[in-house]
Amino acid sequence: MNTAVASSARTMVDFKAVDLAYDAEGGNAIEDINLTIHEGEFVAIVGPSGCGKSTFMKLVSGLRPPTKGSVTVDGGVVRGPLKIVGMAFQAPTLLPWRTTLDNLMLPLEIVEPYRSNLKSSRAQFHERARALLKTVGLQGNEEKFPWQLSGGMQQRASICRALIHDPKLLLLDEPFGALDAFTREELWCVLRDLWSAKRFTVVLVTHDLREATFLADTVYVMSKRPGRMLLRKEIPLERPRDLEITYSDTFTAIVHELREHIGRIRKT
């Protein structure tokens, strides 16, 4: 059902025959990537470690230009950093000298048009940050410093920081990798709800096949370095998805199938 919606939607990210080599001797980090991500689609990229998943992120966000091929995001060829992107990583990278609220304000201090309106609309921006924190269950922690929060709470704040400027495209690089299993599942649901509410496009890089299957519309499997897209798998699970679904047979079958592909890659 979702895929039907997705394929009729506008193209958000388009890779055409993209190679990227960090230096001339090292060879390609990723190679011959062709894929299309629709607006509002939730994409997960899985693969063995060192397969260039993070490189893929750098290309989408415009932090790196491709060596060959072209990357188009939101209708324009990517030539530099895109302001419509929000990013979060495995490390929450919150600034320890700022409160949670002020950490959320950071993107607004950089991205236009917020940046110019900062003085006049500060109260309004604070309100917006508070509202966002509330949606991830962090109300009451606005004035706390990051080191006073638990790992899971820090990661929630980090995701809020990535979303505060209403990006069209959210890039997540193993955001739940450092969390314990329970907190991780809790944050899956937080992300699921944020996405259902706002329907931004998500690219989630992860090692966790259950995570990919639970959250994504489409899962891509990458090969070992040089990274190529080996498999595109649409996840046929109905939305809204409940955590219970992760114990269903369909779910297990999908995870199993993905696992087999990864296993084959690791053997070669």
Binding site: P81, T93, I110, W147
Partner: protein, 258 residues
């Protein structure tokens, strides 16, 4: 129990000082050490009481020279640290020269300064500056250069300029390093001033010790040492308090996570 521990913590340095003074006094008396070699604390104190005016005046000379040299050191240290820390190229280009420069004994530079500027205030300030700016440079540069790459990605993907990243993240991040370096630098600055005063001045604690030494008034020489130490300790704790106030977030760990 907790308060008793606190009082003990507060008293500990004074107890150590008292113990050192008592042992020192006892050794001098028991072994009848000559005053010309090591004067006992009692004679140092009596020297202090004998010449309070001149000692205070010479101390003041040393203090303001040190502070001015230190101030110049802070400005130059921040600027150089900023330049070195914000670009890998500058880091590689300037760092070796800085290390070479820093390994020159500053006492050896004083004669050159005398040729250039004569004796007195100017060489003392310059020596204090030369000896104290290096740790500031290194610390500021380190703070700026050790930015997490992920954080830089987050900001740069939003279209932040290099200057944005430096101001929003680099500078606050390097503040704890900067304040830590001030504590080291202020004590070094005192060393610089006094070294210069010893060989090229008509006033200041360095000069006082020099002239007292040549007339064999060892009590007064040691009184000079004592005054320098006290000034340095006071300045050290001033900057330690400032550090705590400005960058308390960096020395956390007492609060339990909620």
């Amino acid at each position: 129990m907790a308060t008793r521990r606190n009082t003990l913590d507060l008293l500990a340095p004074w107890l150590v000082i008292a113990a050192v003074v008592i042992v020192w006094e006892l050794i001098c008396r028991v072994f009848q050490v000559s005053e010309f070699i090591i004067p006992p604390p009692s004679s140092i104190v009596s020297s202090l009481l004998e010449f309070p005016g001149p000692i205070a005046w010479h101390s003041w000379q040393t203090l303001w020279r040190t502070v001015i040299g230190f101030g110049i050191g802070i400005v130059v240290g921040i600027v150089l640290g900023f330049v070195i820390g914000s670009s890998r190229f500058m880091y590689n280009a300037i760092y070796p020269v800085m290390v070479g420069f820093n390994s020159v004994p500053k006492a050896a530079v004083v004669p050159i300064l005398i040729v250039w500027f004569g004796i007195g205030t100017v060489p003392a300030i310059i020596t204090a500056f030369l000896i104290c700016f290096f740790p500031i440079v290194v610390n500021v540069a380190t703070g700026l250069a050790t930015l997490e790459p992920e954080l830089e990605d987050v900001l740069r993907s939003l279209g932040a300029t290099r200057l944005d990243v430096l101001i929003k993240v680099g500078l606050p991040r390097s503040l704890p390093y900067f304040f830590a370096s001030l504590k080291v630098a202020i004590t070094l600055a005192f060393v610089g001033t006094v070294v210069s005063e010893i060989s090229a001045s008509n006033d200041g604690i360095g000069y006082l010790m020099m002239s007292a030494g040549s007339s064999m008034r060892m009590g007064l020489v040691f009184a000079g040492l004592l005054v320098i130490s006290v000034m340095a300790v006071v300045m050290y704790y001033f900057f330690a308090a400032l550090e705590k106030r400005m960058t308390g977030w960096a020395t956390r760990g007492m609060e339990a996570p909620t």
